[in-house]
């Protein structure tokens, strides 16, 4: 599973990191620091929840069967 983030449109709500701090890494200002990452096995549910928590809707979940 992969996460894609429209980083330019992140406005720093940091809700993704509030749910999954180790997956959604923030910069010093509290904005998302990464544009994409592979979700480690076993953390898929946490990654999905973090994505859905984004009020700005800038986090996209790419499930394995979609790749």
């Amino acid at each position: 599973m992969k996460i894609l983030i429209d980083k330019a449109n992140c406005v720093g709500n940091a809700r993704c990191a509030a749910i999954a701090e180790t997956l959604y890494l923030l910069d010093d200002d509290g904005y998302i620091a990464v544009e994409e990452f592979e979700v480690p096995a076993g953390m898929e549910q946490l990654a999905r929840r973090g994505a859905k928590a984004c009020p700005e809707r800038v986090i996209q979940v790419i499930e394995d069967d979609q790749e």
Partner: protein
């Protein structure tokens, strides 16, 4: 302030279809004053997602969740400034040297690309990491305020807790004298209660805010500390050193945002908890549910209504809007929209997968959201841990204030020790 008078209704302009007219005085609507969020639920049911109200000189109200989301992020067509950056700067350039410049609340009335220049210096100071460092001092103060009223078996919650807690934390952060808290709060109240939008009156009101802070501002220029005023003095804007005018532009926003928001959030939370003893029991039994409860309180009782100004004649969600018209983003209605939240009136701790927008969306997302969330969570934690089941005093009915920031005027709580 419950008895605000209805503003006169103005005739609708020709481009507004009759089907989009709905009567809502955002400062004085009688239903809102009786119960703010019941009125928001009613508006969600009765009014179109984008409607026009004849009150307060006539303006648009954006009530649908998607419509609010789209307008907030469309900064090209919908400006945060009543007068554009270019116009203001042209005006300032034409003023005689030394004449007092009009205050431009920063960063909230700046649009991209200027917005980032003014928001930038504050980002780190308000980041989740920076706010984590304040947790202990927030908790210490919350505990002291709760313990002070606990033996009495009752309290006027706004006056005893919801006001002193965030206001003290904010004044410390800002570097303003905490002893003068009462004076600052009164001034903010006066500022928000005044609905006169005549530019010269607005300027006079803003100037009062900068006057009260003037000595502290000048003192920090010479003797910087680790507070926000000192940080702003050390910032640069487009390569130029901060001026007194820049600092004043920030102060008027931070002052209002820092002193009048969390107070209302906490008070709305206290009302919900006081009227839902089973929720209190659930949270006392399982404090790990408090963060979810704090989020659901923010959604169910979203309470700010920020304005936008139409930059050029345009069509938005099928509606014709004209240059210069005002559109109020009715966030309380957006977060009660059934097309976004199933059974929106229900308080549901398991409402995962849908994000509320109590702190706004788009680039102006509340700068203080991380601070506010810590304050709300810590307060609820300590109330659940320290107070027995509390309820509203049935002899003192609630009234609400409307306007840009909604909330109960006072919340009288009682409990049996």
């Amino acid at each position: 302030m419950a008895q605000a008078n209805l503003s006169p209704a103005v005739p609708k302009p020709d481009h507004v279809p009759a089907s989009l007219v709905y009567d809502f005085d955002m400062f004085a609507d009688p239903g809102m004053i009786e119960n703010a969020h019941n009125r928001a639920l009613e508006i969600v049911k009765e009014a179109p997602p984008v409607f026009w109200t004849p009150r307060n000189d006539g303006h648009w109200v954006i009530a649908g969740h998607n419509a609010v989301f789209n307008m907030s992020r469309d900064t090209e067509r919908f400006s945060n400034a009543m007068v554009s950056y270019e116009q203001i700067h042209a005006m300032i350039a034409s003023m005689p040297e030394g004449a007092p410049k009009p205050l431009i609340p920063a960063p909230i009335t700046y649009d991209p690309p200027h917005h980032a220049v003014y928001r930038g210096p504050l980002q780190k100071a308000f980041s989740p990491k920076a706010m984590t460092a304040l947790k202990d001092s927030i908790r210490e103060l919350a505990v002291a305020l709760i313990e002070a009223v606990k033996p009495k078996g009752e309290c006027a919650f706004v006056d005893a807790i919801a006001e002193p807690l965030p206001v003290t934390i904010f004044l410390r952060m800002f570097g303003l004298p905490v002893e003068r808290q009462r004076e600052y709060r009164d001034l903010v109240k006066e500022h928000f209660e005044d609905t006169d939008s005549d530019p010269s009156h607005v300027q006079a009101r803003l100037k009062k805010v900068t006057d009260i802070m003037h000595d502290t501002i000048m003192e920090r220029k010479e003797n910087p500390t680790d507070d926000l005023i000192s940080l702003l003095w050390q910032s640069e804007f487009n390569g130029e050193k901060a001026t007194l005018w820049d600092i004043q532009n920030y102060c008027v926003v931070l002052f209002a945002a820092g002193l009048d928001t969390v107070v209302n959030g906490m008070s709305l939370g206290a009302v919900h908890l006081a009227t839902n003893p089973q929720l209190q029991a659930e949270l006392r039994a399982d404090p790990d549910k408090i963060p979810a409860a704090a989020e659901e309180i923010l959604r169910r009782y979203t309470f700010t209504l920020p304005p936008r100004f139409v930059s050029a004649d345009t069509e938005f969600e099928g509606v014709q809007m004209k240059h210069g018209e005002k559109a109020v983003l009715m966030l309380p209605a957006a977060d009660l929209d059934p097309s976004e939240f199933d059974s929106p009136e229900e308080f549901n701790l398991a409402r995962e997968g849908k994000a509320h927008i109590a702190f706004g969306t788009g680039p102006h997302r509340c700068l203080g959201s991380h601070l506010a969330r810590f304050e709300l969570n810590i307060l609820y934690e300590e109330m659940m841990a320290r107070l027995p089941e509390f309820r509203l005093d049935p002899d003192k009915p609630l009234t609400y204030h409307g306007g840009h920031v909604w909330g109960p005027d006072e919340v009288y709580l009682k409990w049996d020790n």
